[in-house]
């Protein structure tokens, strides 16, 4: 079997494993039976392994680093999103109920890759063969996966905030759950002004046995991922500028891909500010993150598909 063939077989295996893991994760979210969670994690790890195998085989087949075109970007993006989820969310933050959404995102990315972007492993133009290009592309994909994961949590946060508001109005007789952040932070010292770091939302769910984790947990996860991704995005854009300076003789030319990476950067900077601005914390800041999510996708896909520019070689 050729490496190219192996790569696409493993890609399909990973896609199916992610689909299975998504179904199992949603089953765990709905029924809270441990075997679902164990199975989802197992299948998820199998999927990631297949995904990594597919990427390596692709690199072997093309004799270069396997992130040279949109198909390859997408495969790596899915891989990193799932990996970030398994290692950070499950491993470090011990949040177990949101996997289905992350797998859904990975499936969406991979499905786009096979349906719109598939190309065989081929050579690259010499302009693309730069050391800086490798670093640039790698960090952009890593940052995209982190920011996108953060945005998935932002969506979940907004969903949860709504349901908490509904539950609180139903469960009026009980004490309202403690609210983290804002002016009612129970353990904050008196002179304390909440910064971007401070999670917003209810620390505990009124009905903790069902549904998503409490909104404060989701908000913290969203912020952590975006905070992790933002400097990497910054770094990636800078490496891109260095590469452009080397190849085209200008570090910045407002080519559509450059423009959109700047827009995305500015929107996430807005998000970080909004989190520290009174009156903007909470759902408004989350709204900005969602605009960032859209911008991320425009940067990642739409620019290549619809807007022409220097970066179109990476179709």
């Amino acid at each position: 079997m050729t490496a190219a063939r192996l790569s696409s077989d493993l890609f399909n295996a990973a896609l199916f494993a992610y689909i299975a893991a998504m179904v199992l994760s949603f089953a765990y979210l709905a029924f809270r039976k441990r075997p679902f969670h164990v199975a989802a994690l197992t299948v998820g790890w199998i999927g990631v392994s297949a995904n990594i195998g597919s990427i390596v085989a692709r690199g072997v087949a093309a004799h270069r680093t396997p992130w040279g075109n949109m198909y390859e970007f997408s495969s790596l993006l899915a891989c990193l999103v799932v990996l970030a989820y398994l290692v950070l969310v499950e491993g470090r933050y011990k949040v177990q109920t949101v996997g289905g959404f992350v797998f859904a995102f990975a499936i969406f990315t991979m499905a786009l890759a096979t349906s719109f972007f598939y190309v065989g492993p081929t050579d690259l133009l010499p302009a693309l063969n730069s050391y800086w290009r490798q670093i640039h592309v790698t960090s952009m994909i890593v940052a995209t996966s982190l920011l996108a994961t953060g945005c998935v949590f932002t969506i979940l946060y907004l969903v949860k905030v709504r349901s908490e508001r509904r539950e609180v109005s139903v469960l009026r007789s009980q004490d309202p759950p403690p609210i983290l952040g804002g002016s009612v932070d129970a353990d904050a010292p008196p002179d304390y002004v909440p910064g971007a770091d401070e999670p917003v939302g209810a620390a505990t769910s009124p009905a903790p046995r069902r549904g998503l984790p409490p909104s404060a947990t989701l908000d913290r996860l969203a912020y952590r991922f975006i905070q992790f991704g933002f400097p990497i995005w910054t770094f990636g854009v800078m490496c891109g500028a260095i590469w452009a300076q080397q190849t085209w003789g200008r570090y910045w030319g407002w080519d559509p891909k450059e423009t959109w990476s700047f827009i995305t950067w500015v929107i996430f900077a807005c998000y970080l500010h909004a989190r520290a601005t009174a009156g903007w914390r909470g759902t408004k800041a989350a709204g900005i993150a969602l605009v960032g999510f859209v911008s991320l996708f425009v940067t990642y896909y739409a620019v290549n598909l619809w807007i022409a520019g220097l970066h179109t070689y990476a179709k």
Binding site: D123, L125, P126, A127, N129, S130, D187, A188, P189, Y192, G195, D197, E198, R220, Q227, F230, P231, T234, F235, M238, A241, I242, Q245, Q246, T247, W248, G249, R250, Y251, W252, G253, W254, D255, P256, T259, W260, F262, I263, V266, I267, A269, C270, H273, A274, A276, T277, G279, W280, S295, V303, I307, A308, G309
Partner: protein, 541 residues
């Protein structure tokens, strides 16, 4: 009748504007506007990047096109309103950075302040230790210093106040100031620099002067218009392709000359390997064919030199399969003449294309030849970029191989009948006793030319430096957190009781893990006992 607004004194209004600019909300709105303006710039065609698409837009949508043109929407990044938003952001940044920086300097100079009620802090423990209070405080200071806290002992010698995480605000300020520096450096660099393209044929020398650029020289707004006068002599151009026609590498071997024309050094300009010289950056941009063409008539040489050939990518986009096109214009003759030339550098690939119907890339030199067409009439456009034949008529056509001389008027070969010519192409030799030709065309040599991008941007190092500072500041700000810890030792009947309290302003979940470790260190240093640990755990609960 005074409106409320006019009741403000000038001073008050300025203060109000300044306060508004200083608020984070303003920064938020300005950043949003910047993003929005950029989005518009990427969705509409832009004059600096694709003027032809702007032209097409103006033709297709005259009303909106004119409106957008007036509003600067076809050059968003050069428009006054984009500059305005940037300038406001700039002022806003300065306005908020100055007080923040002052406050930070003050905070750094200030020693950590003592606290009274440690029990009220989010994290708090108390335990008995084996040493007297003064010693315990002394040792606690050492432990905290080792953990990189800034410490201050209480005046009574029974307490320590400690703080950590100046890096957070320092990092944030570094980031914001560096962003400002980046803006300034970019504006100065783009404003005083220039960039354009230079076409140089092998064996020729090009000099950095405004009129030597290929007509697309872009000069910054505040440029003095001065050029360096540095010279670039092209010794050799080399290209390498795969058999599929995919390019692998392009390199121009050049000799660099100072403003007086003295050679300074040799260098190689390659894809991704620009060369810096005399404040200029030189990049490999493009390349093409430049046959040497000699035209003689009436005993004189009318034209002798390389003709820069342009290869137009056809409908299939395969530029390398297209013949090169170039022109020789003879405006001094009466009537005027012009010769249009079509170069086939690789006749083997050319014949293959004809046979198979699939255009083959012509990447090697194999029996090169040119098809020529002689035109007579009036030359309307003296430039060599094209030929306007509206006032001309065709006199003759023919082919000229490398090393041949042809009689252009009669379309026959005078000399140079040797040399391979692919099968299927006819060669008409001039009849033996014919009169001497009035106009001859020779093709002695086929050379290549290189297109280099030549740019001057004096602030690139500053932009890079600012970018590095932005990154360092950002990471420092995001991954550090401010933490405050207090220790108090009290003498009781049972012995000394050490109280430890603290909180974190950011990353509280991390501090939750850090605090017990700090307490363990303090306990180890002061000889805190086991019994007390239980008490402390009860207290934590």
């Amino acid at each position: 009748m005074s409106s409320p607004a006019s009741r403000y004194t000038l001073r008050q209004s300025v203060a109000l504007v300044w306060r508004t600019l200083r608020s984070m909300r303003t920064a938020l709105v300005l950043l949003g506007l910047l993003a929005l303006a950029s989005a518009v710039g990427s969705l509409l065609p832009q004059i600096p990047n694709s003027p032809e698409r702007v032209g097409a837009y103006l033709v297709d949508h005259p009303f909106w096109g004119q409106l957008f043109l007036r509003g600067g929407f076809f050059d968003v990044f050069g428009s006054w309103w984009f500059s305005l938003v940037t300038a406001l952001l700039f002022v806003s940044l300065v306005a908020c950075l100055i007080p923040r920086s002052r406050a930070m300097l003050r905070a750094i100079r200030q020693r950590p302040v003592q606290a009274k009620e440690l029990e009220a802090l989010p994290h708090h423990v108390a335990f008995e230790v084996a040493v007297p209070p003064e010693v315990a405080v002394e040792r606690a200071q050492r432990v905290l210093r080792r953990r990189m806290y800034r410490v201050a002992a209480a005046p009574d010698g029974r307490g320590v106040a400690a703080e950590k995480g100046v890096l957070r605000e320092t990092g944030s300020l570094t980031f914001h100031w560096a962003f400002l520096l980046l803006l300034i450096a970019v504006v100065i660099g783009k404003g005083t620099g220039y960039t354009g393209h230079a076409t140089i044929v092998e064996g020729q020398t090009w000099t950095d002067a405004a009129f030597n650029y290929d007509g697309d020289l872009r000069t910054g707004r505040f440029s003095s218009g001065q050029h360096t006068g540095a010279g670039i002599h092209l010794i050799d151009f080399e290209d390498r392709f795969r058999t599929s026609g995919i390019p692998m590498d392009f390199a121009s071997e050049v000799e660099l000359l100072d403003a007086n024309g003295n050679p300074v050094r040799r260098d190689e300009v390659r894809i991704n390997h620009p060369v810096g010289f005399d404040g200029l950056r030189i990049f490999q941009y493009g390349f093409g064919w430049a046959p040497i063409v000699v035209v003689r008539g009436g005993g004189a040489t009318l034209s002798d030199g390389p003709v820069v050939m342009v290869q137009d990518a056809g409908a299939d986009g395969n530029q390398l399969a297209a013949p090169g096109e170039g022109f020789v214009k003879l405006p001094t003759l009466r009537p005027q003449y012009a010769i249009s030339l079509e170069l086939i550098p690789d006749s083997t690939a050319f014949i293959q294309s004809l046979i198979s119907g699939v255009p083959q890339p012509m990447t090697q030199v194999r029996a090169p030849f040119m098809r020529y067409t002689l035109w007579q009439g009036r030359i309307l456009d003296p430039s060599l970029n094209g030929l306007d034949t509206r006032l001309m008529h065709k006199v003759s056509t023919g082919i000229v191989g490398r090393g041949w001389t042809v009689d252009v008027e009669h379309g026959c070969v005078v000399s140079g009948t040797s040399g391979a010519l692919p099968k299927g192409l006819a060669r008409t030799v001039c009849p033996a006793g014919a009169p001497a030709p009035a106009l001859t065309l020779s093709f002695p040599e086929l050379r290549q030319y290189t297109r280099l991008q030549v740019s001057k941007d004096p602030t690139v190092p500053f932009v890079l430096g600012a970018a590095i500072l932005i990154l360092l500041g950002l990471v420092a700000a995001m991954y550090s957190s401010r933490r405050k810890v207090w220790v108090r030792a009290e003498a009781r009947e049972e012995g000394t009781v050490l109280q430890v309290g603290g909180y974190a302003l950011q990353r509280k979940d991390r501090f939750e893990e850090e605090f017990p470790k700090l307490v363990a260190d303090l306990r180890a240093a002061t000889g805190g006992g086991r019994r007390e640990r239980e008490r402390e755990e009860a207290a934590a609960r």
